[in-house]
Symmetry: C2
Subunit: 436 residues, 2 copies
């Protein structure tokens, strides 16, 4: 269905931070924009771990794409899965078989988990990239407790041991939220069970948590997690994953039925289908203005793109980079329509923040202005505040705020629902997942 | 796993209104109670239609069973599906193969839809008994719009025609909520589509809507729905259901891809597995104290039970009957433990209320005190108020109230997410569903 309108058509693949901001940035440009996503909603990935740990409802961290563009008249939405791009015909091809013509293409399909070739991750690991995966993980965790409640031997065989692989922000946030769930919420749900037998093991290959952070933040995160009962194991690499245990690099066997894979991501497989050179982590190599060398009418942004700082350091796969890149390509497209060249992308690093658990966060802000670091309760508050601001949808903000306030004062989490239907494990990760 | 404790063990099958109230009623009785349900949450069925029409999140109408009994120390919970009862061994048998011993049994597994033998209902119809079914229906409705947005022919072939079969309270509430979604919410989501082509057809076999209500309420409901654009067809029976059309009894063919089955329910199939006489609608025949003739240690309550008024009218399958029956069996069990006989069950009819849509409801209260009838805005407010009170879980109440207030003032509904994964239609209704 090629649009034959007079205005150039910009097709944006992906309604994540990068894609949404690209489409929003084209608000006043003389173009027709079509946003394509496999879901009819934007997923606010930074809060998926709270869905997985029963703090938020799935609906709180998702917002329908059409609502985002309600007042922007040059944007249309198409729900569909993109399979490849026909560069000759200038068409995006959907899984349904439909072809969608474009004059300009913005590819922002995000990242998928990277198993680094470790056997068993694909079959047995849980990842946290989509709403379905978050619900599946929450349901799985609660199912372990339901089982142990009537079958105490389940705890003897690692049923209540939850292993997280990867001590970056995702792993740290997950560990903090999970240990609080086990410690504060579930004991009163399972009076028949000795919930204190449940434990969270955080496995990190390097010798520190939160590697991209400064030393004080790293040490703080480790101290807080250990104090709250997380078994933090540094220098611990995973060699094999099985349904009921994990084998570490040294040969140690850790009994667990739940492996949460937060060890790394790679560019979305659509990057390979573009037929353009890939760099580290299967990310697409882009020029300084984020367009492709072979196809200057196409841009790749967000977690899929391998863009670099002027000093050639690859930019991290974080929301802020995606947001700024989305805005940038919108400006480049508008400039080109005026016959001007696009400027190179420069990342304005606002700093980074991670939550370690209740009342404990770390924030390292404004690195270019000398840096402002704070931790503890203030870091936690700053994190909550910023995530509320960025969460799309008025009602999501109200709900999330109400849930956080409620959790904070009552230590209760209302979303403890087992909502998936039990399916073969493999089915959980088919979408957006591949062996590298 | 027979409990060998000294206190008698009461097993309650089902965590609906009936089962929950039975277990709660045993708070001070010298018994151990085990509640079994296939889900770890109670589903507040009266609001499922709001989940299906994007007014509420799934989490808002579900509440984890363990939380309900947090402070009641003689109740335990087991998540599992009951397959049958071994009366000899006094054991409930789960699908997992486990047997659970009981001294006293309360069966409250609810109702499933009844297709009255009409071909195609099982394969193509949507029902509204579980959270998964509500999410599946919402996702299906929104998918029709996503499809029509890029394939206008879909509307020509009935893709935007939504047929509801059954003009009782469920059908009327669904019709009112659905027509508001089409009329007020979706047009701004789909500017590329002529949403006014979407329509809701309400098919009722009898010559009036809301049959159990008084004449004024019936006429009011019909008037409001027609005025809001629902195509109300009285005296219309469905003969066959197909994937893309319905055939009416007179031979008329109605093109629709969405048939919502609100025409009737029957007792849960577990009733047949009990091996005890069934009555009308596959409901289990019970004695006046709600116990079974052949198995006086067992009770059947709620939608599954065929209990009658003193004048032999069967009691309706509504929440109020289930709640009162739950409380009643708790009293009978406690009385028997004291060596007394249980009293017969007497339904105290508080009246009935249904919502027809925004600002329009009907309430017929206190029929034994002469009756108090009100409709319109007041009926609607009364309905909202009572449902908020009965909705379990503080946070659910806060969320539902916030959503209703938000919807009321903005005409917006935030839960417009397509959240199921597209699966063969059949899979949607396997649970608790059978041909009669």
């Amino acid at each position: 269905v090629t649009d034959t309108a007079a205005r150039p058509r910009v097709v944006v693949i992906g309604a994540g931070f990068a894609g949404l901001n690209a489409a929003k940035g084209l608000r006043n440009a003389p173009v027709d924009v079509l946003v394509i996503d496999q879901h009819n909603y934007h997923t606010f990935q930074p809060l998926l771990y709270q869905v997985a740990t029963a703090g938020l409802d799935a609906g709180d961290v998702a917002h329908q794409v059409r609502d985002v563009f309600r007042r922007q008249r040059n944007v249309r939405f198409r729900m569909g899965r993109v399979e490849r791009v026909d560069w000759e015909a200038r068409e995006v091809l959907l899984a349904s078989g439909d072809g969608i013509g474009f004059d300009c293409l913005v590819v922002a399909a995000g990242a998928v988990y990277h198993d680094f070739g470790i056997p068993g991750v694909f079959d047995h690991g849980f990842v946290l990239k989509s709403l379905h995966e978050a619900i599946a993980l929450r349901s799985h965790v609660l199912r372990q407790f339901e089982r142990a409640a009537h079958d105490p031997a389940h705890a003897d065989h690692g049923g209540l041991t939850f292993a997280i692989v990867g001590g970056g922000p995702t792993g740290v946030e997950m560990a903090g939220a999970l240990v609080e769930l086990l410690d504060r919420v579930l004991p009163s749900d399972y009076p028949e069970l000795d919930v204190s037998r449940a434990r969270v093991v955080l496995l990190e290959m390097a010798e520190a948590l939160l590697l991209p952070y400064g030393e004080r933040s790293r040490a703080y995160a480790e101290r807080v997690l250990r104090r709250r009962g997380v078994d933090v194991r540094l220098g611990a690499a995973v060699a094999e994953v099985h349904a009921d245990h994990v084998v570490l690099a040294g040969g140690e066997r850790l009994a667990t039925h739940t492996l949460i894979w937060a060890a790394g991501v790679r560019g979305h497989p659509l990057g390979e289908a573009l037929g353009t050179p890939l760099g580290r982590g299967a990310r697409v190599q882009v020029r300084s203005d984020l367009s492709l060398e072979d196809h200057p009418e196409a841009f790749v942004i967000g977690d899929m793109a391998l863009a670099s700082d002027p000093d050639r350091t690859p930019l991290p796969q974080v929301a802020q980079v995606a947001i700024q890149q989305g805005r940038h390509v919108a400006r480049v497209i508008a400039a080109r329509l005026r016959g001007e060249a696009g400027a190179p992308f420069r990342y304005q690093d606002p700093g980074q923040m991670a939550i370690i658990g209740r009342s404990a966060g770390v924030a390292e802000l404004a690195p270019r202005l000398g840096g402002l670091r704070f931790g503890g309760f203030l870091g936690w508050l700053a994190w909550l505040f910023l995530h509320l601001i960025y969460l799309p949808g008025h009602q999501n903000r109200v709900n999330a705020f109400a849930s956080w306030a409620y959790n904070f004062f009552t230590y209760d989490r209302h979303a403890r629902l087992i909502l998936d239907e039990e399916r073969p494990r493999r089915a959980r990760m088919t979408r957006g997942t591949m062996r590298s």
